[in-house]
Amino acid sequence: MSQAEINPLLTTVEGIQAVLRERNYIADLSMATALRLVMALRKPLLVEGPAGVGKTQVAKTLAEVLDTRLIRLQCYEGLDTAQALYEWNYPKQMLHIRLTEQTGASVAQREAQIFSEAYLLRRPLLEAISQDKPPVLLIDEIDRTDEEFEAFLLELLAEFQVTIPELGTLKATHRPHVILTSNRSRELSDALRRRCLYLWQNYPSFEKEVEIIRTRLPGINVRLAQKIATVVAHLRELPLNKAPGVAESLDWAEALVSLHKESLDMHVLEQTWGVILKDKDDLTLIEAHKQRIAELVA
């Protein structure tokens, strides 16, 4: 099924922006164009940017828009094919070997039986290329994996096929929409980058951040949303170890709404610093900038 059949708006960049907005995701032109090309070219999209700017959220929203499954592979050091691609069901295979001991079948025959699809446990990557409807495959924080795993991904991302020694090469029934995210904690290889569309997602502008807060929390006071965006934008200019992202802005806004705070002052700020600053050194550093922040919230 093409995007036009799902939703004719998905064939234009403005349409994608509108559809995402309906689902409370404010996409700028670059993100909307990126999603348009992901759907049109069926190439993976590599999104890099600081933590908490909505890289993961875009994949979730895209799955909602396309009304399809979101298959997520969370990357970490040591991730290998057994956790990402497939694994054989060893207890079931062992049981089968025992049960067929007396049948007189040759080793080759029994081997062919136990290494068949009935004994295969599908992990996210294999699952993503075996769907009837193209899913959204989110490969989250790819920079956390080892180089070996990154190299393994090349075949999947270029050809949308995987090779299982016992079964041969499995081609995708439908090409998934692939989104990879990275926080740039290490350099990714050129080979991987060349297989992807590339998008750098930075912190949003003041106006966009206010819009995001108001979209996610429709009941919030406009002035409060603006002050939150102002303070957060200022904090991002400071040399913090962990600068607050959009996720922190939203958490903070939600916390303030829950606490029935209609405006910001230094007392409220000190009560709620923990929602946006999550490092002890940062909390210490902020003490030196209290004066400026007080001016901002005044």
């Binding site: 234009t12 960049v13 032109l29 670059s30 164009t33 990126a34 348009r36 090309l37 049109a40 070219l41 190439k43 999209l45 890099e48 970490y76 050091e77 040591g78 290998d80 054989w88 060893y90 295979q93 062992m94 070997i97 025992r98 001991e101 080793v107 029994r110 081997e111 136990i114 920079d143 080892d146 740039r184 904690s185 290490r186 350099e187 050129d190 980058r193 060349r194 992807c196 569309l197 590339y198 998008l199 750098w200 930075n202 912190y203 502008s205 200022h234 991002r236 200019e237 400071l238 040399p239 170890n241 600068a243 050194d281 900038h289 400026r292």
Partner: protein
């Protein structure tokens, strides 16, 4: 960014021709746009999927297809307008992608506006305390024997002089290679979370065990094993090549060279007033064997000293190299008159991102020397080891019983 002497002109006629000319234009820049026929095809398909009447959409689509990293992304808009609309100014001012990057060019191709309270950007503001700190004198001039290099460092903070080729000394190289091997072997990073096959291990390798069992009637008589391999360390070696380090840089360079020969996971940088990654040059020097030497070091050798700014640049431009398994060596005499705030910020970032931060200061063994200079005072809280190294034996002990943070 630079283009060739014979730039291709726009317009060329058809859309594909223009696109090919633009891609050729990108290839000729210094950002190493590595674009082949596949990218040309993708770009054409991308243009077919968007509204060709919208300049912004065309720019964004081409950017998505033709850029593959942040450095390229940052200069793409300028290159796009330079090629397609040379007489037109940028239609929008996009925010800079780097939060802090001294001397970096914004997307408009001009120096980014200084942001208040941002250590690196504040440097460009002559009124800021950071910039004023540049002119501060160091405080540790008790001993006259190293006051001269300090003065030299202070008054030559502009560019490095013409840098001749720098030769890597061959004397005692074997001893230094041995020291590098010992240094690498002493690093204990614990074990990775990966599982690898091994004759003896801590976990059954079910797949292999099962395959072996097929030949013994399903009985796993010969189990296969897996274990977690040892984590291999990475090294980032940052060498101060300024004039005040001239007497010591040969030995330090030799050590960097030996370390690179003994371990592939080594990245080497040199800095003076500018920073340069010299890993590839060391690699080439290694293959030439006879008289290994480095050339074209530019502002990274033989000039003044900008420690804070260059370490900040390292952290921001090459931050991907700093990981939980990376040991960072900074080899410098610390004779810098730059703003300590910048150095403090840069070292804090490097400290948090690396497994250990080791500072090699060749003056440390000098009589009467105390690390009271602003630079060294700022650095000390972040250092896991602060020492001097002169002989191969000294270098071998740099990681001896070193406690790593990750």
């Amino acid at each position: 960014m630079s283009t060739s002497a014979t730039p291709l002109q726009f317009p060329h006629g058809s859309l594909p021709e223009n696109l090919i000319a633009f891609i050729e234009h990108l290839r000729q820049t210094t950002q190493r746009f590595n674009l082949g026929p596949g990218e040309v095809q993708d770009a054409l398909e991308a243009l077919g999927a968007i509204n060709l009447g919208s300049l912004q959409e065309v720019r964004q689509a081409l950017k998505l297809v033709l850029c593959s990293n942040l450095e390229q992304e940052r200069v793409f808009d300028d290159l796009f307008f330079q090629f397609f609309l040379p007489s037109r100014k940028r239609i929008e001012a996009l925010p800079n992608v780097y939060k802090a990057n001294p001397g970096s060019q914004g997307e408009t191709g001009q120096k980014s506006q200084p942001a208040r309270n941002n250590p690196s950007e504040a440097l460009s503001d002559p009124q800021s305390p950071l910039a004023q700190g540049k002119t501060r004198l160091a405080e540790d001039s008790d001993a006259s024997n190293w006051a001269a290099p300090l003065l030299k460092a202070m008054f030559s903070r502009t560019a490095g002089s013409e840098t001749p080729e720098v030769e890597i000394p061959q004397q005692d190289l074997d001893a230094m290679l041995l020291a590098a091997t010992q240094l690498v072997n002493q690093v204990r990073l614990g074990r990775s979370r990966r599982w690898v096959s091994t004759p003896k291990g801590t976990r059954y390798h079910f797949r292999r065990t099962l395959r072996k069992a097929l030949h013994t009637g399903g009985e796993p008589i010969n189990p296969a094993w897996q274990h977690h391999p040892k984590r291999q360390p990475r090294f980032v070696f940052v060498l101060d090549g300024s004039r005040s380090m001239q007497s010591y840089s040969d030995r330090l360079l030799q050590f960097a060279y030996a370390l690179r020969m003994r371990c592939n996971r080594v990245e080497v940088f040199a800095f003076s007033t500018g920073l340069k990654r010299i890993t590839q040059q060391l690699e080439k020097a290694r293959s030439l064997s006879e008289r290994p030497r480095l050339s074209q070091l530019g502002q990274a050798w033989g000039g003044g000293t900008k420690i804070g700014e260059n370490l900040l640049l390292l952290e921001q431009k090459y931050g991907g190299l700093l990981r939980g398994d990376t040991l960072v060596f900074v080899a410098s005499d610390g004779l810098d008159t730059g703003a300590p705030e910048v150095l403090d910020y840069a070292l804090r970032q490097i400290y948090h991102r690396s497994a250990a931060l080791i500072w090699l200061n060749p003056l440390l063994d000098s009589e009467g020397y105390n690390p009271h200079a602003n630079c060294m005072k700022t650095a000390l809280p972040y250092l896991d080891r602060f020492c001097a190294a002169h002989t191969p034996e000294d270098y071998a002990r740099l990681t001896y019983r070193l406690k790593l943070r990750h």
